[in-house]
Symmetry: C2
Subunit: 355 residues, 2 copies
């Protein structure tokens, strides 16, 4: 497994993005978001997306260049159009607008329309937390992987929810979760390794529960969080539709369940994103919020564990640990991915730096 | 099973609340919220709470009268103090403030501090939906029932999330869910009936999974949504802490994990609530949002079902059906509860109307 230092990975991603024709002012931002994701151990959403984006460009699902437009703006709200480019830079723009507005009036929201993939949802609320504010971000998926409770066919994506809140001495609380039981990547990995998966993760093509990863990955579906009706999969399903409403209907995009199962070549993907920022000081001018969040998180970590070797964690702990480790040791890039990135570089006419 | 018409139940609840010394202007609102909850089939949060509230009053966990104060207010934000009374009326006040503000600037939020129980969370966002707006409401619980993933002791309550969005021709989308796998009431009911519960619902006193309802209910815990670590209970746990942060830390209350396991007699409960309202027209002035939500919900209901006898539902469908049926047939009040309500009436010096 090759270990690549973050700054080299950044340069490599930036070269590819520029070669694809991305607007210059978006290249650095996009590379920064993608490398940050890899640093935090979310391997499914960083450098590993380069070959996927290359394929999308070829199909016309993703357009570059894609100038970012602020469509409308009030003291409390902004709507940003991503022109069917990658979602990272327009989402940073939207979150920055929401942060500035929330600092002024206490809370603000921003929507991004006509977007595609924006990487890991957790990046954007962390920008708010870094500014001392709470942030949310949700996005709808475009790959129909998930079925409604009692349904036999997938209708929506893994529709993640991310939330971050600022602490005082500690890193922020950062929740970043798909509204499915597990990420589709976990089912895929089990299929590749021919491992069985736990009951409740996935179904076969008819919507019946399966523990066979290959059956699930090839034509099956992922379950909403909860897993089965008796374990309240309607809750994961309900959260996913809440995310869908905020991401697509509110921004003026098309809801995933109302779009075709596979996007035709030449038609751009149509993801929407929604961000919200709230200033704790607007509620508590005395400023006690961040210090109490430290206390709350410390107290949760001190919960008596079932197994002393596995202490209780708080959302964001795992990613924070990964970021520290990988900043030193480098980011692992497996050989298969390395070969694919090389191919993407060659096809785009970008120098390959990871040889 | 006695069937009680909604207006009679309203009068009964109002008599008890008034006899307890509740401020006159809060009695009608509180009774309305409680009866609405019973109409919608959420039997755990309406009339069945009367004997519970009576016990809390006796212990000093709940104070009446409890004048509502708006502690601070800006064009975007309100903070309401509930003076340790019941949470229904101050929460309606907070939501009404947020609705008025959101109509003016596009979005707004309100927090309620020093509150206790406020019934079913879904009532409050439905007020926003009735005004053509989207609403959220969350609250922290005060009964430590739920353990963090990998933990062996319960640290927080069932911390529900509610969200409603306005449709055009259809009732709104209404999600109202505890962040646990199932409500504690379901475990209690199984214990009473000596039925086994599915794996993943609950644990014993040491945090180990159990399917024995009595073991779970007497000293055990409820699991965060997901149920077990391998089925991503860290997601339900993460959502619950997000709710905790918004409800207690933001409003200036005490986070449940930082308070004693059992509230001492004489000390009021310390629940906090958080509400958010967003106007879809602030993002889409052309007004396409509600009609598209109709389409989205219809399309989801038309998903091919696994079993044709169990069609796919949308969040809120079950409660809407119950409300229609119970408005005609009346609200079922089981004999045990009826006897307890009678006792509460007698103790408070209120007339018993349900004989």
């Amino acid at each position: 497994m090759k270990l690549v230092q973050a700054d080299l990975l950044h340069r490599q991603i930036a070269l590819v993005l520029a070669a694809w024709g991305m607007d210059k002012d978006q290249v650095e931002t996009t590379a920064r978001v993608m490398v940050d994701t890899d640093l935090r151990g979310v391997d499914s959403h960083g450098i590993s997306m380069v070959p996927v984006y290359a394929e999308w460009l070829k199909r016309g699902w993703l357009k570059l260049p894609a100038p970012i437009t602020v469509v409308s703006e009030t003291p409390a709200i902004a709507v940003v159009d991503a022109a069917h480019g990658l979602g990272h830079a327009p989402s940073v723009k939207a979150m920055e607008l929401a942060i500035a507005k929330a600092k002024s009036i206490g809370l603000a929201a921003a929507a991004v329309r006509n977007s595609t993939h924006y990487g890991a949802a957790g990046y954007y609320p962390r920008l708010a937390a870094a500014a001392g504010l709470m942030g949310w971000c949700v996005t709808n998926g475009q790959s129909k992987w998930v079925l409604p409770t009692f349904g036999a066919e997938p209708r929506f994506g893994t529709n993640p929810i991310a939330f971050a809140a600022p602490a005082k001495a500690q890193p922020p609380f950062v929740l970043d979760m798909a509204t499915t039981t597990v990420a589709v990547g976990k089912i895929r990995n089990a299929a590749i390794e021919r491992r069985a998966i736990p009951e409740g993760w996935a179904t076969d093509a008819k919507g019946a529960p399966t523990t066979d990863a290959e059956t699930a990955y090839n034509g099956g579906t992922a379950t909403p969080l909860g897993g089965t009706p008796e374990r309240s999969s309607h809750k994961g399903y309900g959260l996913a539709i809440m995310v869908e409403i905020l991401s697509s209907l509110l921004s003026g995009g098309t809801a995933c369940p109302l779009s075709p199962r596979v996007t035709p070549d030449g038609h751009a993907l149509d993801n929407g994103h929604f961000m919200l920022v709230v200033d704790p000081k607007a509620f508590r001018p005395e400023g006690g919020f961040p210090g109490e969040l430290d206390q709350l998180m410390t107290s949760l970590r001190q919960t008596r564990p079932i197994d002393p070797k596995q202490p209780v964690l708080v959302a964001g702990d795992k990613e924070e640990k990964s970021a520290k480790e990988r900043a030193k040791a480098g980011i692992p890039v497996p050989p298969g991915l390395l070969a694919e990135v090389k191919k993407s570089c060659e096809a785009a006419g970008a120098q390959f730096l990871l040889g």
